[in-house]
């Protein structure tokens, strides 16, 4: 079995991620997606194999034992060969040391098929959140509202460009989209009808800060089955520091009761954002690396679909992560994982978005290679009708894909479409070697571009966080399966 590992073409580090989480030693076979629990000796053996490979040394039992002895593990020859035997069996089964599938790249029709749009219905905001990439709603331009004509053209655009796809997604975004609620109503009505005329359906989502979420609007969202993403950062002091009104007052006291009220209307919301769902999402920054406390704060409020994510900020921003934060953040994920487990089935249990991994119904390899689809499957539309690869690129001239008011609005700038389509994991040197590649898909293009100025170089702090939450997520999956005494077999 060790012969496989001895030739340099199979890198264990890249293809088998073994790590310690909570009370478990875990091996994740990256290419098959299989998961194993190891005993400590086996874990150390795998780590020794990695080390030998890294040092370009021969991988054999002798070398492994030598390394283990150096670290005080006196594994006997018999024990080691027993372990190697078991590893070999799993390799035979294809659940460990499995080969990477041949590189099959996603193929796309020449003309992009756009299945989702983000409509920036208002480039204005009633808050002044400090980390907002939209520069408090104006996106580097002046404050503006989308008009009905542009909105309708946007809907026609996605219905046209979605080709044979029957399901389209439209997200109302801003700024604060509820500042233009009248338009939202008109577009939902228009969109439903226009979609039905073509035997299609549109799934609408609204991303809001909650300030204007009054009874009337809540009722409307319920009636129309609109999914809602609500922003709340957690504890009052954390939220208020980053999400003030223009006069500096915090917004926690205003939005929290409204968000709670709305969340209570959707108790059955899908943790995988299927159907009509709600999610409460927050951002953590340098100021709250103990963001697990913010998640728990929200869970204690009765909010149970939660997503809290790392801020993406330029390094000079006061809230940008600094040296030393990473360790604290990782500890926060560890604590959160344990708390998540202990609250399962109890009062105040919660879902944390990044801990969801649907191993059994996860997406196919092709999807995993291609990522978010920004710039070809997903397009953002500014209030003026300009088209951009995604909401984060709105206002960046270099990335403008076209305009709804161009002679041919359905013609997207080819070179940009191409550059986004080809920014998949095989084109990114770090991703090719990364164990998280099939879960992560190469990170967020917008974050990558803003940190590295390139679509194919990645934002490495983002990578560390991505890998950490994946480690916890896989651990939780194992715990859940252990709890149900029911190993999963998907082959």
């Amino acid at each position: 079995m060790l012969d496989l590992l001895s030739n340099n073409e199979y890198s264990v580090k890249k293809n088998v991620h073994s790590y310690r989480q909570g009370d478990l030693f875990i091996a994740h076979d990256v290419n098959s997606g299989s998961l194993h629990i190891l005993d400590e000796d086996t874990y150390e053996v795998l780590k020794a194999v990695e080390e030998l490979q890294e040092a370009s040394k021969q991988v054999n039992e002798e070398g492994i034992r030598q390394l283990l002895w150096q670290s005080g593990n006196q594994l006997t020859v018999e024990e080691l060969s027993e372990i190697v035997g078991e590893l070999g069996e799993l390799r035979q089964q294809g659940t460990l040391f499995s080969r990477e599938a041949d590189q099959v790249l996603p193929t796309y029709p020449e003309k992009p098929i756009v299945k989702a749009i983000c409509l920036h219905v208002a480039h204005d905001c009633n808050l002044r959140c400090k980390y907002c990439f939209a520069e408090t709603g104006a996106f580097g331009g002046s404050r503006s509202m989308m008009d009905l004509e542009t909105g309708k053209k946007g809907i026609d655009f996605v219905l046209d460009l979605s080709g044979h796809r029957n399901h389209c997604e439209v997200d109302f975004f801003g700024g604060e989209p509820l500042l233009n609620f009248g338009l939202i109503r008109s577009l939902v009505e228009y969109g439903r009808k226009a979609a039905a005329d073509r035997d299609k359906t549109i799934k609408f989502t609204l991303t809001t800060n909650g300030i204007l979420l009054n009874d009337k609007i809540q009722e409307y969202l319920e009636q129309e089955d609109i999914s809602v993403v609500l922003s709340l950062d957690g504890r009052p002091e954390v939220h208020d520091r980053m999400r003030p009104f223009s006069d500096g007052r915090g917004s926690y006291a205003k939005v929290t009761p409204l968000i709670k009220q709305f969340a209570a209307k959707r108790p059955e919301s899908s943790p995988y954002a299927l159907g009509t769902y709600y999610y409460v999402r927050g951002t953590y920054t340098h100021f709250n690396p103990d963001f697990d406390q913010d998640v728990l704060h929200m869970a204690d409020l009765g909010i149970n679909q939660i997503s809290v994510e790392p801020v993406v900020a330029s390094p000079e921003a006061p809230y940008a992560f600094q040296e030393g934060d990473l360790e604290k953040i990782c500890e926060a994920y560890d604590r959160l994982g344990e708390e998540y487990l202990s609250r399962r089935g109890q009062d105040k249990e919660f879902n944390f978005f990044h801990f969801n991994v649907a191993l059994d119904q996860g997406p196919c390899m092709i999807k995993r290679l291609s990522g978010c689809g920004a710039g070809h499957e997903y397009v953002a539309i500014s209030p003026e009708g300009d088209l951009y690869p995604c909401h984060q690129f709105v206002g960046q001239e270099d990335y403008k894909l076209g305009s709804l008011y161009a002679e041919n609005p359905n013609q997207l700038k080819e070179e940009i479409v191409k550059s986004f389509r080809s920014a998949h994991i095989y084109k990114k040197p770090l991703c090719r070697e990364c164990w998280a590649r099939f879960a992560c898909s190469g990170g967020c293009h917008a974050a990558n571009v803003s940190f590295t100025k390139s679509l194919t170089d990645v934002y490495t702090l983002g990578c560390e966080l991505q890998k950490k939450r994946l480690e916890v997520a896989l651990y939780l999956k194992i715990k859940e399966i252990q709890h149900n005494h029911n190993p999963l077999s998907l082959v």
Binding site: L35, D41, E86, A116, R165, V311, C364, I478, I481
Partner: protein, 46 residues
């Protein structure tokens, strides 16, 4: 029964290279400002 390793999930992700790619799934954005749906957190709708 294996003494040192316990398999919890047996999967064969690589095989979906052949079966997948229908494109019916939701888009997945992983930025902090949106629904934040990393591919790994998604489900297949097929």
């Amino acid at each position: 029964m294996a003494k040192h390793i316990q398999t919890i999930v047996k999967a064969n992700l690589s095989s979906t290279v052949k079966t997948g790619g229908c494109g019916k799934c939701q888009t997945s954005c992983q930025s902090a400002c949106k629904t934040s749906c990393t591919v790994g957190n998604q489900v297949c709708v097929k």
